[in-house]
């Protein structure tokens, strides 16, 4: 399922395509909303998400970028942020949340801050109306995938920026290619580690690193992508 997400992501060419992807992810996870919210150093912003357009308009018209505890709490940070842990005590923040709920936004949220070049800053947010226990279970189970998805979203969005050109994934090092090649040939992790004389643990990190460069969600997918992109040949 997430591989389908990656494949669609790869084909995305416009911000509208990114919006469609947020709907895809929302349905996949069965949650209320998924939003990618992008802000540059001049305070310009755009969003790709499942929020009602009326809410997005209201948010912008009300200047909530400066009020929103999620934006304030994620700016200059790099750890995933649970909304409940933010400071919602101000009157303005509570008012914003009350209004948001009327537009169908849930009170549960989990946002992953993303940093880009030249002061670009983005948030990738999951949102729902469920109770605390269900939300904790959802985020705990999916945090790893969500971190990857958030970064892939940001990488894609950055390619839409003027003067950025197509972002080329950094080439794999010989060691990473070697590891993926043996995995593609059907060797187990233990066998590959032994073949290239590294520990299984080290292998795991090399594969993890290669996976991110290839834009893949898991090892099998990384191998498939490396093959289809011609990065490795078996």
């Amino acid at each position: 399922m997430l591989e389908e997400f990656i494949n669609r992501m790869e084909r995305a060419e416009t911000r509208d395509d990114l919006t469609e992807l947020t709907f895809f992810l929302r349905d996949h996870y069965g949650i209320a909303h998924v939003i990618y919210h992008w802000v540059n150093s001049d305070g310009e912003q755009y969003g790709a998400g499942t929020y009602p357009v009326e809410w997005a308009k209201h948010y912008i018209d009300s200047g909530y970028l400066r009020t929103d505890p999620v934006v304030q709490g994620c700016f200059q940070r790099f750890h995933p942020v649970e909304w409940k842990r933010l400071d919602w005590s101000s009157k303005a923040a509570r008012k914003m949340m009350e209004e948001a709920v009327q537009f169908g936004i849930g009170h549960q949220g989990y946002s992953i801050p993303l940093r880009g070049p030249a002061g670009q800053f983005a948030l990738f947010t999951m949102n729902d109306t469920c109770d605390d226990a269900a939300w904790a279970a959802f985020t705990t189970e999916n945090v790893r995938d969500l971190m990857l998805i958030a970064h892939y979203f940001n990488q894609k969005a950055l390619t839409f920026e003027p003067d950025r050109g197509e972002s080329v994934p950094p080439p794999l090092s010989p060691r990473e290619s070697e590891a993926l090649t043996y995995l593609a040939l059907g060797y187990s992790r233990a066998q590959v580690a032994e073949l290239i004389s590294i520990s299984e643990h080290t292998l795991r990190v090399y594969v993890e690193s290669a996976r991110f460069k290839l834009g893949a969600m898991n090892t099998t997918h990384a191998v498939a992508r490396a093959l289809s992109m011609g990065v490795i040949v078996v």
Binding site: R85, R144, H151, S173, V205, E208, S209, F212
Partner: protein
């Protein structure tokens, strides 16, 4: 107690920050003889301190710095990728689920308990933020300290010998390792959880009781 503080929040912890940068000068410049920059205030800083990293700091009961370490995401600029690719077989380690841990520092007199408390804090980061590994640079002196607290890294590569020996290592953190370093640190897991939640917000007592 453990505090988790981003670079831009250090201003609110002036004494702790000053102690950390001075103890880093003491450890890395004077004791270990690394080629690092110490300013006129006797504080050691490098380019990575300017990237708004997350510091994990052991604060002593009197409010002074007892030990610390520094985290940055490997999807951004890191020391390992910038300077130590020859120790990772050329592999540029970059993933949202791997963070770099550097400048592991102990104040003079800081022992295994402080090291263990810092490691325990590293475990909280992994557990709470979906981080699977830490990667970092360390020298030979640290090998014994990590071993003593049962948190030896997997070594990816080493160069130099004797006191000049420097390695890139990799940490993972299991629940059993967590219990072990908690024991070593003399800190209960509940307290560790409380410190984490206090730094990152939220009602720690309620969450701790429901955990």
């Amino acid at each position: 107690m453990i505090r988790y503080i981003y670079g831009d929040e250090l201003l609110k912890h002036e004494r702790l920050a000053q102690g950390m940068f001075r103890d880093r000068a003491e450890q890395f410049k004077r004791r270990q003889g690394w080629d690092v920059t110490v300013d006129t205030n006797g504080e050691e800083r490098d380019d990575y301190d300017a990237l708004n990293p997350l510091y994990v700091i052991w604060e002593r009961p009197d409010g002074t710095h007892g030990g610390s370490m520094r985290f940055l995401p490997t999807v951004g600029q890191t020391m390992v990728n910038d300077h130590f690719l020859h120790l990772t077989e050329g592999v540029r380690i970059a993933s949202p689920v791997i963070w770099e841990c550097t400048r592991f520092c102990l104040a003079p007199g800081g022992g295994a308990r402080v090291s263990a408390a810092l490691m325990l804090a590293g475990g909280e980061i992994m557990r709470n933020f979906g981080i699977e590994h830490f990667v970092g640079v360390f020298d030979r002196r640290m090998v014994h300290i990590y071993r003593a607290i049962g948190a030896s890294p997997e070594v990816l590569g080493t160069s130099g010998t004797g006191p000049d020996q420097i390695s890139v290592g990799l940490w993972a953190f299991s629940e059993s390792a967590r219990r072990k370093v908690a024991r070593q640190a003399g800190v209960s897991e509940l307290i560790s959880d409380h410190w984490f939640r206090r730094s990152f917000g939220g009602n720690s007592i309620e969450l701790a009781l429901s955990a």
